[in-house]
């Protein structure tokens, strides 16, 4: 079982992801440079948070032309796991591996705080070790996390059970007061139809050890490990 952490110019959560997968999860993990053209045999690609290419033009827009993206597309097409966190989620929508777009936060401010998430789907390789409806506390840190898709696309996501995480209050109620950025239908994370690509705005890699005061994020990485162990 091997994780690959993609380093784009401007990635800044790559070491956190590397630390969690390698030192907390105890898995093999390797750095994938944006100019690399093969994935070094990794099973799960992680696109970490940050500001790839300075977020110029639009967050994630320029990353789609990085040489590493072509093998990532092939990996995803053949069923391999791809996990985008924060900026990584933005990249995945720009690349077209996930539907919709992430826009400027509705209140126009950068949001950096802890929020609560409700686990909506557990039959994905990223959430199989979580329980349905499980509430997770995770940090967010983004200026462009306002998920947008038109109504038809949102209905499609609901129908195909692709909405994996929603912002909620401490009791798990999905209400607009718990929505930190204006995301449509409180969406915090979605997967593709085939369920092997996940993008989410909150940062599980920043809350995966009790030493840091919160290990709610570890369940996501444990799920990935369990899914990879099954194949």
């Amino acid at each position: 079982m091997k994780f690959g952490i993609v380093v784009l110019p401007g990635s800044n959560c790559d070491h956190d992801a590397l630390h969690v997968t390698r030192n907390i999860l105890g898995a093999e993990a390797e750095v994938l440079w944006h100019k690399d053209t093969d994935l070094k045999g990794v099973d799960c690609v992680i696109l970490p948070g940050g500001f790839a290419y300075g977020d110029y033009l639009r967050a994630g827009a320029l990353a789609k032309f990085a040489p590493i993206m072509e093998p990532i597309r092939r990996h995803a097409a053949s069923g391999g796991l791809v996990f985008g966190i924060c900026n990584g989620f933005q990249v995945l929508t720009e690349v077209g591996l996930l539907p919709g777009a992430l826009m400027r936060n509705a209140h126009l401010r950068f949001a950096s705080r802890d929020i609560d998430l409700r686990t909506e789907q557990t039959d994905t390789p990223f959430t199989s070790e979580l329980s349905a409806g499980q509430i997770l506390r995770m940090p967010i840190a983004h200026g462009e996390g306002n998920y947008f898709a038109d109504d038809a696309m949102l209905d499609d996501l609901e129908r195909n059970r692709q909405i994996v995480f929603r912002y909620c209050d401490r009791e798990g109620r999905v209400i607009s007061e718990a929505n930190p950025n204006g995301s449509a239908r409180n969406i915090a994370g979605i997967c593709n139809r085939e369920r092997n690509v996940l993008g989410m705005m909150p940062h599980p890699e920043r809350c995966s050890e009790t030493l840091l005061g919160n290990a709610d994020g570890l369940g996501v990485f444990k799920s990935i490990a369990a899914s990879l162990a099954r194949v």
């Binding site: 033009l57 639009r58 827009a61 929508t93 720009e94 539907p99 919709g100 777009a101 826009m103 400027r104 936060n105 509705a106 209140h107 126009l108 947008f148 898709a149 038109d150 204006g182």
Partner: protein
């Protein structure tokens, strides 16, 4: 040849930035501003390739679709001049 490309949010997409600008204009003493939509403008200088205009136009459209606009949320328009 020069291309001028305008990229703006689709009408169905809320533009909080435009709204904030509209409110700022109102508080600056311009009460008549009914709406503001913010967008992006690109001035692109193209080398003279001798290609016919429709071909140049096709390329500019591709630039918009592939990079300059995210067509999930944005529309684009362009003009070409010698």
């Amino acid at each position: 040849m020069k291309a001028t490309v305008i990229v703006e949010l689709k009408g169905s997409v809320l533009d909080p930035q435009g709204k904030a600008i509209q409110h700022s204009l109102a508080s600056l003493g311009f009460p008549g501003v009914e709406d503001v939509r913010a967008g992006k403008l690109f001035r692109i200088t193209l080398a003279d390739s001798g290609q016919p205009r429709p071909e140049v136009e096709r390329q500019v459209r591709q630039m918009c679709e592939k990079l300059l606009a995210n067509t999930v949320i944005e529309n684009f328009s362009y003009t070409l001049e010698e």
